[in-house]
Amino acid sequence: MPNSLFEKCAISGIGETAYVRGSGKSETALQMEASLKAIADAGLSPKDIDGVIPYATGSAVAEDFITNFGIADLRLSATTPLGGASCLAAVQLAVGAIVAGIANHVLIPIGRNGYSGARIGSRVQQLPQFRTVGEYEMPLGQIAPAQLYAHMARRHMEMFGTKSEHFGKIAVTFRDHATKNGNALMTEPMTLEQHQTARMISDPLRLFDCCLESDGGAAVIVSSSERARDLKSQPVYIMGVAEGHPDSPSAITQRPDITTLGTAKAAPRAFGMAGVDRKDIDVAEIYDCFTYIVLCQLEDMGFCKKGEGGDFVASTSFGLDGPMPVNTHGGLLSQAHIIGMNHIVELVKQLRGQGGKMQVKDAKIGLVTGYGDMGDGGVAIMRS
């Protein structure tokens, strides 16, 4: 039954805090604030939440939500440790749990002080899923994702002729979108020249190829489509959703093809479940921890062939009036790094017609991805 989850569930509520550098709030408070907004958006009471999937390595657990919300009978508590693909893996799990009758309204919260708390570079070594890299590569000086992913990007460039200017076009487009967003860290436009002359972090990744560090919270609620139709906000239906894990998931070094991500396994499942094709996607929010990762996911999802990402990016507009606008909120590169929950929230806004100055005209079907932990991928396709 490959299509058994098709449109069985919807995103019934979304919530976001302000995205800032220096929140002055605890990570748990950021999650509570975003969650309460999502619950209010759905028109639910906090007590109605009967499932919660907190971020695996975050600072809140299901017990915090039971305690703060006075939940009488929480029926699902789980985590999905896939780094930046966690949020979509959580959506997949929530859909499965709801269809199975385990829970009715599953809350997926994220809250983090990525800027003012522990920096990503120093935090990464402590994560259990980074044990392999922590044991064998960090002692050599390869500490951060920017360094580890640079190996993938360099190989892609030398095998396929991909250029830094292709990465730059992605960064410049997302920045343009962020300047229109009232809740983004980067508010000044950027030129390709600024991208090209920014300092090198780990060749070929320059400063503006790398995502922001930021503080904030975001949350969504997944409910059955049937229940969501009776709630306050317009439901956004989950047509297809899947997670995928790459070969050698813990170490890029040992991956047979280091230019292919887990996204390549998730995408056919998500598109198959949704019953739509790439050309049907009106708007896409693509996880962008690094510019290269956007290009690679476009290939892995079949928007172009493996190796043709550079040409595809060069010849396609991802701007708001292009055929498929990408990262209408500015993404992790220019809005904020909220582990991609901000991507899900933005897609829901776009499909509801709440995109404000970034609203894509006639956005009916949209795609959102997550990516993390050295290669895990998540893909979801939704419609209004």
Binding site: M138, L140, Q142, I143, M152, S202, D203, P204, T253, I258
Partner: protein
């Protein structure tokens, strides 16, 4: 004040690898049942699911699969080392090794033949490095 180094945490599965480096030997696991060579060290052979393992010494030779030059340290203990060139190397044994590339005025390139060497950072930690062959 000296900054604490980033260290591995050798356990029963990984200690032979680190001990080998201290002796100037790059060791890989070889399946005791089907003979498949694997790296990084792990518990089970994914070809035949045997947990029998022996350790073999690498020829130390391979070619560069990909590379990066880091201009940012991400940990204070590496600040004095910048810029750092890292290579991912296809070893002749069919597995890969990540390490710094050494040598005067060496430009990394995919396909470049390299050989392993060993750098003792302190009494407890020796790491592999590569030089052009």
């Amino acid at each position: 004040m000296e900054v604490e180094r980033v260290r591995p945490s050798p356990n029963e599965d990984t200690k032979p690898y680190w001990d080998g480096l201290k002796e100037g030997r790059l060791l890989f696991q070889k399946c005791g049942h089907c003979g498949a060579i694997r790296h990084y060290p792990r518990q089970v052979c994914d070809k035949c699911f045997s947990m029998d393992v022996e350790w073999i010494e690498s020829s130390g030779k391979g070619t560069v699969h990909t590379w990066t030059v880091s201009q940012h340290a991400f940990h204070p203990s590496f600040k004095g080392d910048l810029p750092m060139t890292f290579v991912t190397v296809d070893m002749d044994e069919g597995v890969r090794v990540a390490a710094r590339l050494r040598g005067k005025d060496v430009e990394p390139a995919i396909g470049m033949p390299v050989r392993v060497a060993f750098e003792q950072l302190d009494n407890d930690l020796t790491v592999p490095v590569f030089y052009p062959q």
